[in-house]
């Protein structure tokens, strides 16, 4: 895909920011659990936190291709930070812009676009992830309020976010159409962070279990119509998959770059290892896979921008790119030899960070379910 000059500039600025303001600190932030809020506010000043949101609400009003390019750049230096950025932009800000009332838009969007507030999305529960319709968190109407009770798991930025987008059951017997979405602030006494998980990768953000205990939210925090929550939540996930594919490409591309550099510097048997064809061919294959993943997410994003159906393309991009990223990161470690296993080299971190891309925003298996349902729409 050929980018417009503006898309190229956006990518350049995102890369400059990532390389200068994030990359030097990632190891320190892995140890400390994440950057200070100030980093997200600096990102917001450039426009990274509300990229596709209408400028009326403080966003940058950009296309989804630009957004995905920026996600790739941030993920290329740190997966965990890119995920907080992603949650803020899409699903949360985008869902509020698409489904929110005028009051909700003006209450939430300007603050999300400046990162005065950060957002989290609460869908997964301890007993169910892939099957979103099986959630049991309840939200029962009580006059002008809803009372939420339930337990959420794996919530990115669960303890650091100010706004929670919560998927809950408003009709216990309603099945798929008994689910609704709320956007509400986390400074609610009923919002309780249970644990911050220790994890393989994405150590620069907080993944939390959260309990809602008789958490009262005003009915003005209901997002979209009651009972339409599942389609709002899953609609957002489909765009989130394009972002996840872009994150995957970011990690993979960085692993490739570091591998090429290392292969030029490291010599064995009298020559730089890049001159051993076995290594050069691996780099060639890795580069081809990275490029394939990039073109797939760009195409899915371009379809969305053109108002065309991007569901299948987004799932394919996410499936391919996330699995490719693990492969490429693993080969990157192989090219580094023993050094690649050490924390001295970033490929060690990339390998840990890219693993989750096959899990969140719908596992690889779930993507295959979605793609197989759309086989008839393919040109074959």
């Amino acid at each position: 895909m050929i980018l417009t000059p503006e898309q190229e500039q956006i990518r350049r600025v995102a890369r400059q920011f990532a390389v200068s303001n994030i990359a030097p600190h990632v190891r320190e932030w892995e140890a400390s659990g994440g950057p200070q809020r100030e980093l997200y506010q600096q990102m917001a000043q450039i426009g990274l936190m509300g990229m596709t949101i209408d400028p009326v609400y403080g966003g940058s009003g950009l296309d989804f291709v630009s957004y995905a390019l920026a996600i790739e750049e941030i993920a290329a230096v740190d997966g965990g930070i890119s995920n907080v950025m992603a949650a803020n932009n899409s699903p949360v800000a985008l869902a509020i812009e698409t489904h929110g009332t005028a009051e909700q838009r003006t209450r939430f969007l300007p603050r999300l676009c400046t990162a005065e507030w950060l957002a989290s999305i609460h869908l997964t529960e301890p007993h169910t992830g892939s099957d979103a319709s099986a959630i049991t968190t309840r939200a029962l109407r009580d006059g002008d309020e809803f009372v939420l009770d339930g337990h959420k798991a794996f919530i990115t930025a669960g303890s650091t976010s100010d706004v929670a987008m919560i998927v809950a059951r408003t009709d216990p017997n309603g099945g798929k159409s008994g689910i609704s979405v709320f956007v509400t602030t986390t400074d609610n006494p009923g919002y309780q962070v249970l644990t911050k998980e220790r994890k393989l990768g994405h150590r620069t953000n907080d993944t939390c279990q959260v309990r809602f205990e008789a958490m009262r939210v005003p009915s003005t925090d209901l997002l979209g119509p009651e009972g339409k929550g599942l389609s709002i939540a899953l609609g957002g996930l489909s765009l989130g998959r394009i972002g996840c594919a872009a994150q995957s490409v970011g990690g993979a591309r960085q692993a490739l770059r570091l591998s090429k550099q290392y292969a030029e510097e490291r010599s064995t048997f009298g020559k730089p290892i890049i001159e051993h064809q076995a290594i050069a061919f691996q780099l060639a294959e890795m580069a081809t896979e990275v490029e394939a993943g990039r073109q797939m997410y760009l195409h899915a994003a371009a379809l969305h921008d053109a108002g065309q159906d991007s569901i299948s393309a987004a799932s394919m991009a996410k499936l391919y790119a996330s699995e490719m990223a693990e492969r490429v990161a693993s080969r990157a470690i192989q090219i580094h030899g023993g050094a690649g296993f050490l924390e001295d080299h970033l490929v060690e971190k990339i390998y840990r960070d890219v693993r989750v891309y096959q899990i969140y925003e719908g596992t690889s298996e779930v993507q295959k379910i979605l793609i197989s349902r759309h086989l008839d729409s393919l040109d074959m």
Binding site: R12, V13, F17, G61, L62
Partner: protein, 259 residues
């Protein structure tokens, strides 16, 4: 207050460059970007106008094939508009020719202050700004680390090895800005989109009233005859420590007359 910033657009230093063997000049077929050396001048100009509570920052650049990539970045940072001089006859122009062309473009803009980098990242003769000042017959101050405009005067802290000198001159004047003295802002995405609509006036030599034989390869009175790689560094002397290494090192440093 009207500030004009000279910005050079150069091939991306992150990409491998190539010399044209016939001219010994860097090939410039690829997309050009804003020379980092000039991002400081742009930032300085924006800060001057912001602290003055008004004014106008414009850009001027000379570049082949109507290249605007670097100008767009500076416009996205906040400059109002740009003048681009581009003309096939300019290929091979030397530094003096470049200065003549830029001076002609600047004189049409009637600025109070002209800012430039101390030296570009790719050519780095470090001569263009002062030659522009010469051609415009205006005073010039080099190596600025801080600039203030007061009345009809520009006051500059001029960086020296030991500290800085305070230097003043009347406007209009040209000041070259030391790299690194301000932190250039990131262009915001909104700025990038707004830059698309900002005016870039493209001029050729005839619009500037410059005779094409006085610039370009023909007008150049300077030629890069040969480009030679730096000698690879010699391997150092390795001193094995048999208990007397310190004596050998002291002897070695003594020979170098550093102790």
């Amino acid at each position: 207050m009207k500030v004009v910033v000279c910005v050079k657009q150069i091939p991306d230093p992150a990409l491998p460059g190539e010399l044209d063997p016939s001219t010994n000049y860097l090939k410039r077929d690829d997309k050009l970007i804003l020379d980092e050396s000039d991002s400081y001048g742009v930032e300085m100009a924006l800060q001057l106008v912001e602290s003055a509570g008004g004014g106008d920052v414009s850009l001027v650049s000379m570049a082949p094939n109507g290249a605007v990539g670097g100008l767009r970045t500076a416009l996205a940072m906040g400059a109002e508009g740009a003048v681009l001089v581009s003309d096939a006859a300019l290929a091979g122009t030397d530094a003096l020719g470049t200065a003549k062309v830029l001076a002609a473009a600047i004189s049409r803009m009637s600025p109070d202050l002209v800012l430039a980098g101390v030296e570009s990242s790719d050519g780095y003769t470090g001569t263009v700004p002062e030659m522009i000042a010469g051609a415009l017959n205006i005073p010039s101050i080099t190596f600025a680390k801080q600039i203030q405009i007061e009345g009809g005067n520009v006051k500059v802290q001029r960086q020296t090895e030991a500290g800085y000198d305070d230097v003043e001159c009347p406007t209009p004047a040209l000041v070259s800005v030391t790299a690194g003295v301000v932190e250039p802002r990131y262009p915001s995405f909104k700025g990038i989109m707004a830059a698309k609509k900002k005016p870039v006036e493209e001029l050729d030599l005839s619009a500037l009233g410059i005779d094409s034989s006085s610039v370009g390869k023909n007008g150049a009175r300077q030629e890069t005859v040969q480009v030679t790689d730096a000698e690879e560094r010699q391997a150092g002397e390795i001193i094995e420590d048999d208990g007397d290494a310190h004596e050998k090192i002291i002897e070695f440093l003594g020979e170098l007359k550093v102790i």
